[in-house]
Subunit: 170 residues, 2 copies
Amino acid sequence: MAAYGSNGVLRGEARFTEEQEGLVIKSWNIMKDDSANIGHRFFLKIFEVAPSARELFSFLRNSDVPLEKNPRLKAHAMSVFVMTCEAAAQLRNTGKVTVGDTTLKRLGATHFKKGVSDAHFEVAKYALLETIKYGVPASMWSPAMKNAWGEAYDHLVAAIKQEMRPAALL
Amino acid sequence: MAAYGSNGVLRGEARFTEEQEGLVIKSWNIMKDDSANIGHRFFLKIFEVAPSARELFSFLRNSDVPLEKNPRLKAHAMSVFVMTCEAAAQLRNTGKVTVGDTTLKRLGATHFKKGVSDAHFEVAKYALLETIKYGVPASMWSPAMKNAWGEAYDHLVAAIKQEMRPAALL
């Protein structure tokens, strides 16, 4: 059961189809060859919409390294894309996000500690979808592709949110 | 002095030029003939980026009225556009936002009570700029126009934020 019920959303099994999984995988296969660029555009969009989100990344504060060259920001962007892809495959296979418990607890604790809000997760979703829209050939982009990525992302975030609590309580 | 210093931003006089004021006024004069549509698109963009922002509007929760027909949402959108225009004129004339004290205290208290966050103000700014971008003829839109609206909005929001405290403390 994908019952991320603590915040009242995403209860029950998700119906994620093979076609939806295919849309996510197909587009990621195209984007991943250009992943550095894609990751950079993802964060540029996040910071365009919500400049204050920079404050969430302590390593950006006193850094002279340009955004597109920051290895930690690049790694974060890749995690978002790759984990969303994996979430799509898991949802199709099992109806739920099956990120390892340790990983999920770590992600939950980190996002809690940094004070990541619902609005931040939403802005990141918007940035993710905008980045994909302009990262794949125009003929490939479709509302169905947008929804497939959006659903996989929502389930991944719901799983992370459920683990958002102080690390001391783990 | 436009010293909205409590949160460390926008200290000192703003240098807002006649040209910047002109860019704001000129574009608003075009958009205002279609203000219902403009206001609708502004909120659609806010809710696209941050769906949870709907929760900030108690009158949307149990309403069957479609968004584009909701008179209170329309009024809110118009306030944002008109007050940003007025802020542009005030900044050019006096170097600061001179919204009446009573209005500012009321706006501060309301936004405080609703729990409007920095991220929400940022999403609204992004939505405002996107709405203007697609609300004026493509040949009129420019980085300078974007900056003029953005600066006027930032100063208006800084003035509101300075008054964000519980109404009981007024």
